[in-house]
């Protein structure tokens, strides 16, 4: 499904290499986790895949179901089925959460040549999904993420993911800043979307989240590369011993 080969990325304004040859394949139906020290390039990878400006791809490729992502505009990648749950969801004063969601859903449908969702249909679906994530009506009415707590912002990301129903979901530290209950809610939201046609790339610092979202494969990223991959036990190893052993092993 998601195929990343030898991806090299540097900053546009600065001669600074951040990704130094990332290779990664996420198959449909699978959950891959990426762990790694701060500053290793995890967020950069998620941004580059979803089309944020300011980065230059100097080598390598990234495809989703065979279609190259890197030439597409961010909105085209979204319409192609890619979704990023942001590490730091953006506040948008003046734009209602509901308006935002409906605009997004219908923009993607339009881009794919599908009919727009009717207001009634949309409302019904958004209410049901919001309820399962314990997002109340007030949060739906308020401007996007404005005045939301950390946990509310992350739940709002999952709500968007559920409504947009993407093929490939990237979650960037969706667990950071969440208490145990909020994390369970988020994990349940993600698990509800797991199916054989959908891939997940879950970026996290902590094994904790992976207790709730069971990964098929765990990758360790350091200094702009995937340095080790393995099963769920790799996450436990990191939890117990930190990254030092793995980093030393690789060097």
């Amino acid at each position: 499904m998601l195929n990343i080969k030898n991806l090299h990325v540097q900053l546009e304004d600065e001669d600074k290499q951040i990704l130094k040859g990332v290779d990664l394949t996420v198959e449909a139906g699978k959950v891959h986790a990426i762990m790694g020290p701060n500053g290793s390039g995890k967020s950069t990878l998620s941004y580059v895949l979803s089309g944020k400006g300011g980065y230059e791809v100097t080598d390598g490729s990234a495809t989703l179901d065979g279609e190259s992502l890197l030439e597409l505009e961010a909105e085209e990648r979204a319409a192609a089925g890619l979704f990023l749950a942001f590490q730091y969801p953006v506040e948008i004063p003046g734009v209602g959460n509901m308006t935002f969601l409906r605009t997004a859903v219908n923009a993607q449908r339009k881009a794919r040549g599908e009919d727009e969702m009717s207001a009634a249909e949309f409302l019904k679906e958004v209410r049901a999904t919001a309820k399962s994530l314990k997002i109340d009506a007030d949060m739906l009415k308020r401007p996007v993420n404005v005045g939301f707590s950390g946990g509310e912002k992350k739940r709002n990301e999952i709500l968007q993911m559920a409504m947009l129903s993407p093929k490939m979901c990237i979650l960037d530290e969706t667990d950071s800043g969440l208490d145990v209950d909020a994390m369970k809610l988020v994990a349940e939201g993600v698990n509800a979307l797991r199916d054989e046609n959908r891939g997940f790339l879950v970026i996290t610092h902590y094994q904790r989240l992976l207790d709730h979202i069971k990964p098929d494969v765990v990758h360790i990223m350091a200094n702009g590369r995937i340095i080790k991959s393995g099963g769920p036990e790799l996450a436990l190893e990191v939890e117990n011993n930190g990254y030092a052993d793995i980093l030393a092993e690789v060097e």
């Binding site: 909105e75 935002f100 997004a104």
Partner: protein, 426 residues
């Protein structure tokens, strides 16, 4: 003090080209206004109050021509049930206007009043304008009081069931129009006045508003879509105890617009909100100049001005809150913001507070900036195309001003016109 020679000559040249309407009960007010103009002189670019906006084309004796802009958008308030009063290039159009029959309001034309010896308008015409000449001079308003020969006097005695819609059509490339309206709102009475249209190649409009205890007036104005038209407007409002005055102005295009609003909060517990949203590109120059004086206690004033500028457009804001020593518990708020859709535009702002009372809460802010790139990417990452995402954020930027409109339907109409303007630029 004698006027500088240049100003004197320019003022005389303009005045010589005009004729004072004669006779009737307004003639004294007109003569007094004329002498105010002669004393003050018309503004020129050396005047501090005209530092950011060049008045030349507003004061010169012939109006620069402005092509009538043809478009297929329906009149903005056409859908609403209103009492419609139409002016074409500043001249009343009886054919296109409704009868002035509406319960709770009495309406007369200025030209009729001019022909009478006694009329209530006499106590207001030019009175608020004259008061508004201090501490800052507004000669173009005095010029209007002296020479405007059309307009309406609206006396709100009750709560009319529908808004009064003043329509300003522009038909001639060289029209030079002056309209003067007087609006009196009795105690406890309430009305809505909607205005729309570009009015003329050059338009000088003056409105005097006097609201008695507990009265309320809501005004929404849309200044048309003509690109080349010029407008200098003044609104003078006097508010008594517990009265409410809300005004919102939409400006779309126009090579030159100067909208001045002068409000005196005389009674206690009065509320005034003055708001404006403008969008323009290229030659567009838009100036909001506001002066609010708090004299009564516990009054609230809000100024909310938002400007969207692109492709070399200029936005100006001069806003002042003056709190006199009697005006304890004043709640004053002022915000002026510009959103630059590119690097070529400019926003010039001069926010001012002058406070002589000690128990007041006043805040003001002025910012200019570009579209928030992070928000833009967030929207795009959800599948919203760049153009649409930019429009959404632009409308969000304007929302605080549009939200000042009390009527939901009117507000939605304004938003849709703003959205259309943005979409036409995709």
């Amino acid at each position: 003090m004698a006027l500088p020679e240049l100003k004197k000559t320019a003022t005389e040249a303009r005045l010589n080209a005009m004729e004072l309407p004669e006779g009737g009960c307004l003639v004294d007010a007109r003569r007094a206004a004329l002498s105010r103009v002669q004393t003050m002189g018309l503004p020129n670019r050396r005047d501090e109050y005209w530092k950011y906006t060049r008045p030349d084309t507003l004061t010169q004796d012939t109006a620069p021509t402005a092509a009538v802009f043809k478009h297929d958008e329906a009149p903005i308030f056409g859908e609403f049930d209103c009492l419609k009063i139409v002016f074409v290039d500043g001249v009343y159009d009886a054919e296109a206007s409704d009868d002035f029959e509406l319960e709770g309001v009495q309406i007369s034309r200025l030209s009729e009043i001019d022909a009478k010896d006694i009329h209530w308008t006499k106590d207001l015409y030019g009175v608020l304008e004259a008061r508004g000449q201090d501490p800052v001079q507004r000669p173009l308003a005095a010029l209007n009081t002296a020479f405007a020969n059309d307009g309406v006097a609206i006396w709100v005695t009750g709560k009319p069931s529908k808004p009064i819609n003043l329509v300003y059509n522009h038909n001639s490339d060289s029209s030079d129009a002056m309209l003067h309206h007087v609006i009196r709102v009795d105690a406890g009475a309430e009305a809505t006045v909607l205005e729309n249209g570009p009015a003329a190649a050059r338009f000088n409009k003056c409105i005097e508003v006097d609201i008695a205890d507990g009265g309320a007036l809501h005004m929404v104005c849309a200044q048309g879509r003509d690109h080349e038209r010029r407008a200098a407007t003044h609104m003078f409002a006097r508010l008594r105890k517990e009265s409410v005055f809300k005004s919102f102005t939409l400006t779309v295009n126009g090579v030159l617009t100067r909208n001045e609003t002068v409000v005196e909060l005389l009674g206690d517990d009065a509320v005034v909100h003055v708001a404006g949203a403008c969008v323009g590109d290229g030659d567009f120059h838009h100036d909001d100049t506001v002066f609010i004086t708090h004299e009564g206690e516990n009054c609230e004033s809000r100024q909310v001005f938002k400007k969207v500028l692109r492709n070399g457009a200029t936005g100006v804001f001069q806003g002042k809150i003056l709190v006199k020593d009697t005006a304890q518990k004043t709640d004053g708020y002022q915000i002026s913001q510009a959103l630059m859709l590119d690097d070529d535009s400019q926003f010039l702002a001069k926010p001012e507070l002058e406070i002589y009372a000690d128990d007041v809460a006043c805040s003001h802010g002025s910012t200019s900036g570009a579209i928030d790139e992070e928000a833009l990417f967030y929207l795009q990452s959800r599948g919203v195309p760049l153009n649409e995402a930019t429009d959404l954020l632009t409308l969000a930027f304007l929302a605080e001003a549009v939200d000042e409109i009390g009527d939901q339907d009117v507000a939605e109409t304004i938003v849709s016109r703003l959205e259309n303007w943005l979409i036409r630029r995709h």
